[in-house]
């Protein structure tokens, strides 16, 4: 039994790292812009398709395809922020409506362009297997963990050691004060959105080849990542990491004790529980009047 628990723990951590990658982008957008971007899942999916496109049509190099995918998503993010979300600042409900509209357009647009069948992409890192005890993983699994760790580090350094990053943190803490000290909120918001979309693209480019690239590939991870950032604390990067890993591990362990058709229910149950008991999350800061 103990080995089963350990094995599921590791399985869960692997999947959890994907949730972390998605959650990082979402928590950035929420923390800085106070926008709940439901469209993050489809952007993640586009990242996978972009990686496939670049890999097969432009360069046979997987790392290069990933970078191009991230760049494409950053560009898309800039366009979306400028055209859509900038005009809807402070209007939570219309932001949600807009992101729902985006989901329809992007998801069905992808089906129009690539068809409904799943695409396969198998770079070398996906075919090479690694054994961990009785469990078998691909090199790609470890690549994902490594990349996530790298992304977190880079993000941390960016947010704390650079001017732009500090500007982002300042804007997230107090938008008006940030303006007073000379920070251009528009620039900050656009940059935030671009970085978040690039992270989404990175996630899709990493996950797609591991399994399959298909139009719904971001839907479930988005909901899990949403749960992750709430459980971890909206606006908290360490919260996103703990939340993402935690959810992956929780759903994995749950298959040991409850019928597997309720695996999702466990995650949403944990989400509801956290919201009722401690809505500001594990690492979040309680703001009076906001909960």
């Amino acid at each position: 039994m103990a080995t089963a628990i350990l094995e599921q723990f590791i399985n869960g951590a692997m999947m959890g790292s994907i949730y972390v990658l998605m959650a990082l982008g979402m928590v950035l957008i929420y923390g800085v812009m106070h926008v709940l971007n439901f469209a993050h899942g489809v952007l993640f999916m586009v990242g996978g398709y972009m990686a496939h496109l670049y890999f097969f049509n432009l360069t046979g190099s997987y790392p290069l395809a990933i970078l191009c995918s991230m760049a494409s998503l950053a560009l898309i993010g800039m366009v979306l922020e400028r055209l859509i979300f900038r005009q809807l600042r402070d209007n939570l409900r219309m932001q949600i409506v807009a992101s729902l509209g985006l989901i329809l357009i992007i998801q069905n647009g992808v089906v129009q362009l690539w068809g409904p069948h799943a695409l396969q992409m198998r770079p070398a890192s996906v075919d090479a297997l690694v054994r961990v005890g009785q469990l078998s993983f691909t090199v790609q699994h470890f690549v994902i963990i490594g990349v996530v760790a790298l992304a977190v580090t880079v993000l941390y350094l960016f947010l704390t050691r650079t001017r732009l990053g500090t500007a982002m943190r300042a804007t997230s803490q107090h938008p008006e004060a940030a303006v007073v000290v000379g920070i251009d909120p528009n620039r900050v918001y656009t940059l935030t959105f671009m970085i978040a979309c690039a992270l989404a693209g990175l996630g899709g480019a990493l996950l797609g080849p591991l399994f399959l690239i298909f139009p719904q590939m971001g839907d479930a991870p988005m909901l899990k990542a949403l749960s992750a950032i709430i459980i971890g604390g909206m606006g908290s990067v360490p919260g996103a990491i703990v939340g993402g890993l935690g959810i992956g591990i929780l759903e994995s362990l749950s298959t040991l004790v409850i019928p597997t058709d309720y695996r999702d229910t466990i995650v949403f149950g944990a989400l509801i529980l956290m919201l009722l008991v401690r809505p500001w999350g594990i690492f979040g800061v309680r703001v009076r009047g906001e909960h």
Binding site: L36, I84, Q87, L88, N91, L92, R93, M94, Q95, I96, V97, A98, L100, G101, L102, I103, L104, I105, I106, N108, G109, V111, Q112, L223, L226, S227, I230, M234, P259, D261, Y262, D264, T265, F268, G269, L271, I272, L275, L276, P279, G289, E290, H291
Partner: protein, 328 residues
């Protein structure tokens, strides 16, 4: 008459609706689409109470519709309970679940409330899908009977035909609309609006914010239950996928499309939302993309929906100041 434009529009809709079987007698397909639209209009009215007048976004509301739907369906199909008690039981069950969900969750603010309703909706969908013995599960529940007809003197009323059922849904929708009207125009309705506009201020003025929110939530859940029941009675089959996340999202979208906070907003929204794809069937793959763009345009330029645009145009044209009851 305070809102003459709205009153005219409402009356016109009522008359047209009542006469629809005559107007579209030779085109049963249009009548069919209208019936389906009304089945969505009912939960949309409930949503209007919750979102349009109280300001709460619920992304799992079709879950309550599902509770009402399955309760009514199982009672009528497996236990032979007649229509009216079954429908009331469905509404009651949905309202009860609304109470159970609302009490702990309504104290959460905006973002958090939205997410918790999303999670609740997903859990309800999973239950509909997994509890095979109770709901028929993922394979669906076929063979749901239509309500029994009755006779008034020599006049036969039946609900098996399209016309018969249309008139039934129309009646139910009209009753729910009346309920909405009475509520919105009452003092309670005004307090609800004050809660939507500024909670702290309303509380400072002595409004029991929580009680108001809870009442609105429970009532909107019960109304959604009625809508769900009518829909599965119409289709004569129930399926868990009819009550999943995308359907809840559609509910909000049709309300916003029609105009949240307007009495006839949900009805306009439901009819447009259901009718539009039917007319766009020729471009079936593209209609969802088209609809996505409609939403973007709505969010950016017309957050008040069709009713809002109409009102703005009317105001511009008539250049009059209007005393508007329920929105900022």
């Amino acid at each position: 008459m305070k809102l003459s434009l709205s009153a005219i529009a409402g009356l016109a809709l009522f008359v047209l609706g009542a006469l629809a079987p005559l107007i579209f007698g030779s085109q049963p397909y249009i009548l069919y689409v209208l019936t389906l639209a009304l089945c969505y209009a009912i939960p949309a009215i409930g949503m209007n109470l919750l979102y349009g007048y109280t300001g709460l976004v619920s992304l799992g509301h079709m879950g309550f519709a599902g509770v009402g739907a399955y309760t009514t369906a199982v009672l009528m199909k497996d236990f032979g309970v007649p229509f009216v008690p079954s429908l009331l039981a469905g509404a009651g069950a949905a309202g009860l679940i609304g109470l159970v969900v609302g009490i702990p969750c309504l104290r959460l603010r905006s973002h958090f409330f939205i997410v918790v309703t999303l999670a609740v909706g997903m859990i309800m969908y999973t239950l509909f899908n997994n509890l095979d013995a109770l709901t028929g599960g993922a394979e669906g529940l076929p063979g749901i009977p239509r309500p029994e007809g009755f006779a008034i003197g020599a006049f036969e009323v039946e609900f098996r035909s399209l016309t018969g059922f249309y008139l039934l849904v129309f009646t139910v929708t009209a009753l729910v609309f009346l309920l909405q009207y009475v509520l919105v125009r009452s003092d309670f309705g005004r307090s609800l609006s004050s809660v939507r506009q500024d909670e702290s201020l309303a509380a400072a003025r002595g409004v029991n914010v929580f009680a108001h929110k809870l009442f609105a939530f429970v009532l909107s859940a019960a109304i959604a239950g009625v809508g769900g029941a009518m829909k599965v009675l119409f289709l004569r089959a129930a399926a868990p996928l009819s009550f999943e996340l995308q359907e809840s999202i559609n509910l909000i979208m049709m309300l916003i499309l029609g105009g949240a906070g307007y009495l006839i907003g949900p009805i306009i929204g439901a009819i447009t939302f259901v009718a539009l794809p039917e007319f766009l069937r020729v471009a079936s793959e593209l209609r969802l993309i088209f609809f996505g763009f409609v939403l973007l345009l709505l969010a950016r330029f017309a957050p008040r929906g069709i009713c809002g645009l109409t009102e703005a145009a009317y105001t511009k044209l008539s250049n009059r100041e209007k005393a508007v009851v329920a929105h900022t």
